[in-house]
Structure formats: C-alpha cells, structure tokens
C-alpha cells in the first residue's frame, strides 16, 4: 500500500455548549506527506495541544475530516470504531519527557507496542533491537530507563514511536529537555527515520534551536492554522 501521510480538512473542536461553548480549533486544514517532518508552532492556549490530541485520536473533533494514508478516521461526527487499536498501530507518539515504562528495559519498552498488537515476543524484540541499532542505542538495550541518559531515553522513546511503522508520528516538544547538540541529534534522527520509513512527522515545539530545520511550518493561533515555508532544508 502506498503511503499518503496524514490529511485533515476543516477540522474543528468545540468544548462545552451554549453560552460557555469555546471553539478551540476552527476549520483547521493540514497535510503532511510521507517522509516529511513539519513543525507546529504556537503560543500557549493557541490550540496546539487540542490539535495534537485530535490528531492522536485521543479526543474526537466536533467536525471535519481526517485521513491516515487511505483510511478515514473522522468524517463530520463519524469515527472509526477502535481508536485504541488505531493509536497502537497507526500513530507513533514521542513526548516531551520520554515517559518510558520504568519497570521495562529499553528493548521491552520498544517491543511492548508490537506485543500489545499480538506480535510474538521474539519477533517484537527483534524489531525493537533493529530500531535501537538504527538509533545507535543497541548497546543499552538491556538497561533500565533509570540507567539511561536523557538523550538515550529520548532515542528509546523515538524507537517506541516508530516500532509499529505507523504512517504518522506526533512529537510533542521532543527536544525541550535537551541541550542544542542533543536536540539537533533528535531532529536529525526524526528526519532520517521519517525518510527511511516514509512516515509523516508532526513536531510541536517552542524550541528556537530546531525551528529553522523545518521545511514547512504550521503556525497556530486562536485555533486557526497558517501554513508557511520554513527556512530549513531538512537533513538531506
């Protein structure tokens, strides 16, 4: 199946009803192609988190349409039945803090997702090791999260986001706790993996260091997005 990335049209999200209704997203349009890394930038309260939650199938939009590859996820009130399975198989998450499961080692933190999807343990661990090798943390495969450095933890978290080969990765401030060098390394890894796995990557960030690396940026303010070309040329 040819990958088509993530596409949203006129996506709106309203909280509350009547006089207290608040429109957090207003007819948001967005398209991220496979292999592309885009930035989503906006001040606090602009609707970034709401958009990320809608894209991550954590909350339902009030209206609008969203497709992942050729699969319709939301369409004006209609939604796919099993959002939990969708999050597991079709969406990768990378958080500001790595949020690794503290009682699983690096390999099992990554392998947990395919295991949850029913992949046999050995196969899931093989996939996890493959990704950890690609992210250059294979030497820490048996280490517990508390034994990993911040950068290593973030790479393991990226591996976890990628392990099921989802069509889209949602990265929420993935470089916030890192210094410039490590932040650039993370963005480089995301670009590299996006290109290799043909995954669309949306990076929500305030980080001035990495904003110049994006080719396309979505600015969001008061629930409305504006697309503009970034300064960056990626890491080709």
């Amino acid at each position: 199946m040819k990958r088509q990335g993530i596409h949203i049209e006129r996506l709106s999200k309203r909280y509350g009803s009547g006089d207290t209704a608040f429109l957090a997203l207003k007819d948001v349009n967005m398209h991220v192609a496979p292999g592309e890394v885009v930035g989503l930038i906006g001040p606090s309260g602009s609707g970034k988190s709401t958009l990320l939650k809608c894209l991550g199938a954590v909350i339902d939009p009030t209206s609008g349409r969203m497709t992942l590859d050729d699969k319709v996820i939301y369409d004006d009130g209609w939604k796919v039945r099993d959002l939990r399975a969708l999050r597991r198989d079709q969406i990768g998450f990378v958080f500001q803090a790595p949020y690794l499961i503290p009682f699983l080692d690096a390999t099992d933190n990554v392998a947990l997702l395919p295991m949850l999807a029913g992949v046999p343990n050995d196969e899931a661990r093989r996939r996890a090791l493959e990704l950890l090798t690609a992210l250059d943390v294979q030497h820490r495969a048996r280490a517990m999260p508390s034994q990993l450095s911040g950068g290593e933890q973030q790479r393991v978290a990226i591996a976890r986001g990628l392990v099921n080969h989802p069509p889209v990765i949602l990265a929420d401030e993935p470089t916030a706790p890192l210094d410039s060098q490590r932040a650039m390394a993370v963005i480089r890894i995301l670009n590299d993996m996006a290109r290799r796995l043909q995954t669309a990557v949306i990076v929500v960030t305030h980080d001035e260091k990495i904003i110049p690396t994006f080719r396309r940026i979505y600015h969001i303010r008061d629930g409305v997005t504006h697309e503009e070309a970034g300064e960056g040329r990626g890491f080709d």
Partner: protein, 399 residues
C-alpha cells in the same frame, strides 16, 4: 505478551516484600486468632476424650459437670453400674482452683478419681513419665502444662500432694492443666474450710438446742462430723458395654434414676455451643475486624502503588494498551501482595503459636480458607485502584 505486573514487582521487589511482610504480620494475627478458637474447641474435645466416658450422669436438669455445678451422691455409681448395658461406672469430681507449687500457684482443674487404675473412667489414659496413683491419699498426677516435675509437691487447700506421674495435653475446656488426685481427697478439698470457720461452725452447732441435747449425747458429734465431710461427687462417668448404644443405656438411667444423662455428642455441644460460645463470638468479631482492616490496608497499598504509576498508565493507554491488560496488571499485583502476606502470616502464626499460654491449633482447613479469604480480599481491594486506573485519560500523557 510480557507480564507487566511481574516486571513491576521484580523492579520494585523491595517495596512489595516489605509491604507484604507488614500485611503478613496482620494475617498472622488473624490466623492465630482462628487457631485460638480451634484450640479452645480442641481442649473441650480432649477433655471429653481423656475422661474415657461414653455417658455423663449428672444432677437432674443441670449442664454439669463442666458447664455447670452438679452434685450427685457418691454411692450413686453402684446403682448406675447395675443398670443394663453399663460396663463401668466411676465417680468423678472436677474443681478449678489455684494449686500451690513452691512459691507460686497455678490455675488447674483438680480431678478426683476413684481407686481402681487407668482402666477406670476418669483416669488419665496415658502418662509421659512416672506412674499412676497407687495410694489412697496425697499422690497426684499432673499435666506438664502446670510446669511441674516428678517428685514436686503441690498444695491443694491445706494438704500436700507428691507428683508421681505426668501427662501431656490433659487440660480443661479453658486450657487449664489437670491435676488428678484420689477421690476422697478431692471431695474434702471441695468443702474444706479454714480452722476458724470450722471452729465458728462448731460453736453455732453447739449453741443450737436442736443438736445439743443432753439426753442424746452422741447427736452433737454426729452432726458436726456430717458438716465436715462431703459425700457428693460431680458426676458418674459411664462406659457402655459392647452391643449397647449410648441411647439404650442412657434412657433407663434418666427414667428410673431421675438424673440427667449426656452422651458424647450432647456433651460436645454443651462445651462448644455453650461453654465457649461467648469466647467464640468474641474471636469471630476480632476476625471480622481484622479482615476489614486487612482489606482496607490492601486497598490502600494497591491504590497507592497504582497512583504512583498514573503517568505510566496514561502512556500505556495512549499507546493502545487494553483496559483489561491494565486491570490484570493491578489485580495480579494485589494477588502477589496477598500471597506474600499470606506466606509471611502463615510462618508467623506457625512460629508464634507455641509461645501462647493456651493451646493454639492451626488446622489445614483454616489455612486453606485463610488463603481463599486473603485472595478474595485482595481481589476486592484492587477494585478501587482499577476504577482509578481505568478513568485515567490517555490525554494526560500528552499534557
């Protein structure tokens, strides 16, 4: 799929083990309480077993001789012995009192037994050391629980008894050790007054013109002699002859002798159902309270352990973990905690039981029931934590 609960327990094993030990001590107390009740019931049964009787003939309309006082004439046993189906009949007295032993005294059940030997009902069936009583006065066979040794001297009222034999597990239904002495001595001990009381009673009798008649000089001496002797016993123990049922033997005694006769099941129901009923209810209340406290503690522990993992649970839910996987993780952890607690509790109860002054009987059935109860309590206690975990919004992982 890997066991999330197992990995979490291995990762934080110290927390689980120490929590389990704390819980285990509570479970140990609960098991010991159940053992105390079982010990009381067993003491009652041992008392009946050791009496060697099939029937207990007691004063009419009393629950004697163990639950109520009962007095029957000490020559009654002859007529009972002559009843059909009676193989043996023997007098017996029971008196729970403080028995002097050196500088201290011991709470004991003093049993008066007739002459005859260990084949007679009422005699201690087995000795662990020494011999049975062979003299008519001032010899005793005592239980080891009284803390005596062969050759020790016991003081009962004003008389001294030399210990010639020792028994094991010969106790009253209250767990007091038994001290066997000759029947005549025991009858005297039941009614023996101090010297001042005897003197005062003699004076009163002498002052009574009905007894002190110059025309009948021996009357006063006869009355005084009757006042200082006791011709009553508490019960007649009966052993039935082969070929007779207990009911067949008991019914004619009840009918023709105007006495109350209890068989073994009836005596057991008196001991268990009446004598220790209040203590059993008391212990039952303790068990209920301990069960509730254990449940509350397990619920709190599991709730705390779950709250410590709220962020991880949010992440697990966000990446698509099923609710039932998360619920199973919490339930498994609760059950493991309960299992650790139960093992610690069982070991604690086993080692603590011999230290108790009264007999504590830990029976396998109670252990099995305890395990089931602990597991059920842990299962119930995990419900609160599961509800909290299932309400966690996966969006919390995003912020």
């Amino acid at each position: 799929m890997i066991s999330l609960a197992g990995r979490d327990i291995l990762h934080a094993w110290g927390k689980f083990v120490f929590t389990g030990i704390g819980l285990g001590l509570l479970i140990g107390v609960t098991l010991t309480m159940a053992g105390v009740y079982r010990g009381m019931v067993d003491d009652g049964k041992v008392l009946l077993d050791n009496s060697g009787a099939d029937l207990w003939v007691v004063q009419k309309d009393t629950l004697g001789p163990y639950a109520e006082s009962s007095s029957v004439p000490d020559d009654l046993w002859r007529s009972v012995r002559a009843m059909p189906g009676v193989a043996q009949a023997a007098n017996v007295t029971y008196l729970t009192m403080q028995v002097g032993h050196g500088e201290r005294d011991v709470r004991a059940m003093v049993v008066g037994i007739t002459a005859g030997g260990s084949a007679e009902p009422g005699w201690p069936p087995h000795l662990v050391e020494g011999r049975q009583i062979t003299r008519g006065h001032y010899e005793a066979v005592a239980d080891l629980a009284a803390g005596v040794r062969l050759g020790d001297v016991l003081r009962i009222r004003r008389n001294h008894y030399r210990v010639v034999g020792l028994t094991r597990r010969m106790v009253s239904s209250s767990g007091d050790p038994m001290v066997f002495i000759p029947l005549k001595d025991a009858q005297e001990a039941q009614f023996l007054k101090d010297n001042d009381a005897i003197l005062m009673q003699r004076r009163r009798t002498e002052a009574n013109p009905a007894f002190n008649r110059p025309a009948v000089p021996d009357l006063l001496d006869a009355v005084i002699a009757s006042q200082t002797s006791n011709s009553y016993v508490n019960a007649v123990l009966v052993r039935t002859a082969p070929g007779y049922t207990q009911q067949e033997v008991a019914e004619p005694i009840r009918r023709w002798k105007r006495l109350t006769v209890y068989d073994r099941p009836q005596m057991e129901s008196i001991l268990v159902g009446k004598l220790i009923a209040t203590s059993a209810r008391q212990i039952g209340m303790f068990l209920v309270i301990l069960a509730v406290v254990s449940a509350a503690i397990v619920a709190f522990l599991i709730y705390t352990l779950t709250m410590d993992k709220i962020r991880e649970i949010a992440v697990l839910k966000l990446i698509g973990t099923r609710n039932r996987t998360i619920a199973a993780m919490i339930v498994q952890q609760a059950l493991v905690l309960g299992l650790i607690g139960f093992v610690v509790g069982k070991i604690t109860a086993t080692f603590a039981a011999p230290l108790f002054p009264k007999y504590v009987l830990l029976v396998p059935f109670d252990t099995a029931m305890g395990l089931v109860a602990v597991m059920a309590i842990c299962l119930l206690a995990s419900v609160v934590a599961i509800r909290v975990a299932l309400r966690v919004d996966p969006a919390e992982a995003i912020g």
